[in-house]
């Protein structure tokens, strides 16, 4: 059992997500940084889909009510146990009565706490992820609040020795400006050639409207090609006849402030989607803070799949390193 002394700014239970329900308009939710989720679970010997706590900007204060092992992965929000700094990306043994707290965020935006066995909350549509907009999943469908008590589950698969640490070279780091790789399309044909170029050349600034639903960016205005309004489309030049919005798709309502849709976003609508963030870089997207810079870099589908494969190889290497200890 883990008791919440202070909840932090927005601490939610997340797993790999509520996948495969687009046909009913259900977004996946799940950890914004799936790399950190995956590695966090490996370090404590959990099933890959065990639920963790996703902690954003301001960390919570938690007291462990029994001995267990934990890990902290993702963005650098320096963790402390009983007031003493502890390493991230390492198997940590905690004792009953230990208090986990955090310093102010140093880099990245989200840190993940994995606990042996995973956080135990009821499965909703096969996932423990919190989708706060409609209040389902996770702990009572909401972010944690003071006084909540979390149970741990039975998704522990193997014991990992305390002190097991991920190789430094495999740990992602996060600066203040980010290159996010995208595949241009599906509705990029709606942008003028000049605006397509501007979209990729602009250094965008993340606005305060940046959360699990989407990240809004300020930069330059984009122009759309003149056209006759098609049947079923809105009158704004940025509108098209409704289509599905994949996670990572980028829309530019009225040509101002591109929005990258993320894990809790609406699954479809009538804005032209000009590009889609490749799946591997969604992890990095989840570690970007308001006021930081983003440049969208165009890659092809083959390259995106290759990057996904390489990311998988890194995860495999981490798994092997842990297993060989």
């Amino acid at each position: 059992m883990i008791k919440v002394l202070k909840p932090g700014l927005q601490t939610t239970v997340q797993d790999q997500g509520r996948l495969g329900l687009y046909e009913i308009g259900m977004p996946p939710s799940g950890a914004m940084d799936q790399f950190a989720l995956r590695v966090g679970n490996m370090i404590v010997g959990n099933h890959p889909n065990a639920a963790v706590l996703e902690i954003t900007y301001i960390g919570p204060e938690l007291i462990f009510e029994k001995d267990t092992q934990i890990s902290l992965t993702g963005g650098l929000i320096p963790p402390k146990i009983n007031g003493v700094p502890v390493p991230m990306w390492e198997t940590l043994a905690v004792k009953a009565g230990d208090v986990l707290s955090f310093d102010f965020v140093k880099s990245g935006a989200r840190i993940y706490l994995a606990v042996e066995g995973g956080i135990d909350v009821p499965l909703v549509m096969n996932s423990r992820s919190t989708y706060t907009l409609i209040g389902i999943g996770g702990f009572e469908g909401r972010a944690l609040a003071e006084g909540d008590v979390l149970a741990t589950g039975d998704l522990h698969e193997r014991k990992v020795a305390a002190g097991t640490r991920i190789e430094e070279s495999l740990i992602p780091t996060f600066g203040r400006s980010h290159e996010i790789r995208v595949i241009v399309g599906l509705c990029s044909y709606r942008l003028t050639e000049e605006s397509k170029r501007i979209f990729l050349e602009t250094e965008w600034t993340v606005t305060p409207e940046a959360n699990r639903i989407g990240y809004r960016h300020k930069g330059q205005r984009l122009q759309f090609v003149e056209r006759e309004q098609p049947f079923g489309a809105g009158s704004n030049p940025s509108n098209v006849t409704d289509l599905g919005y994949p996670i990572g798709s980028i829309q530019v309502p009225d040509g101002v402030e591109p929005i990258v849709l993320l894990h809790d976003a609406v699954t479809g609508g009538g804005y032209a989607t000009v590009a889609t963030v490749i799946s591997t870089d969604l992890n990095r997207m989840g570690q970007i803070k308001t006021n930081e810079k983003v440049k969208f870099v165009s890659v092809g589908l083959e390259e995106a799949l290759q990057i996904r494969k390489e990311n998988q190889l890194v995860l495999n290497k981490i798994a092997e390193n842990i297993a060989s200890r």
Partner: protein, 78 residues
């Protein structure tokens, strides 16, 4: 000697609890640890920015409704 109150997270800074209420603190006011000096809005949540030390407010380094950064100095105490 002045001590800075630092924003621990990015967002929009507000000096009043709501538009029709007075500012939390003004220049020259005495503050004590735990006193709220402003709000930072991020992800539809309002974070209460508090003084960690006591002192007299020497001034604010940002304006109401400015976008502030994590680690930015918001106000100075003397």
């Amino acid at each position: 000697m002045s001590k800075a109150i630092i924003a621990p997270l990015p967002g929009v800074f507000y000096r009043r609890p709501s538009p029709d209420q007075p500012e939390y603190v003004r220049e020259g006011d005495q503050v004590n640890p735990g006193d709220i000096v402003g709000l930072i809005e991020i992800m539809k949540t309002f974070y209460e920015l508090k003084a960690e030390e006591s002192g007299v407010v020497a001034g604010f380094l940002v304006n109401n409704e400015d976008i502030v950064d994590a680690g930015q100095e918001i106000a100075l105490l003397k």
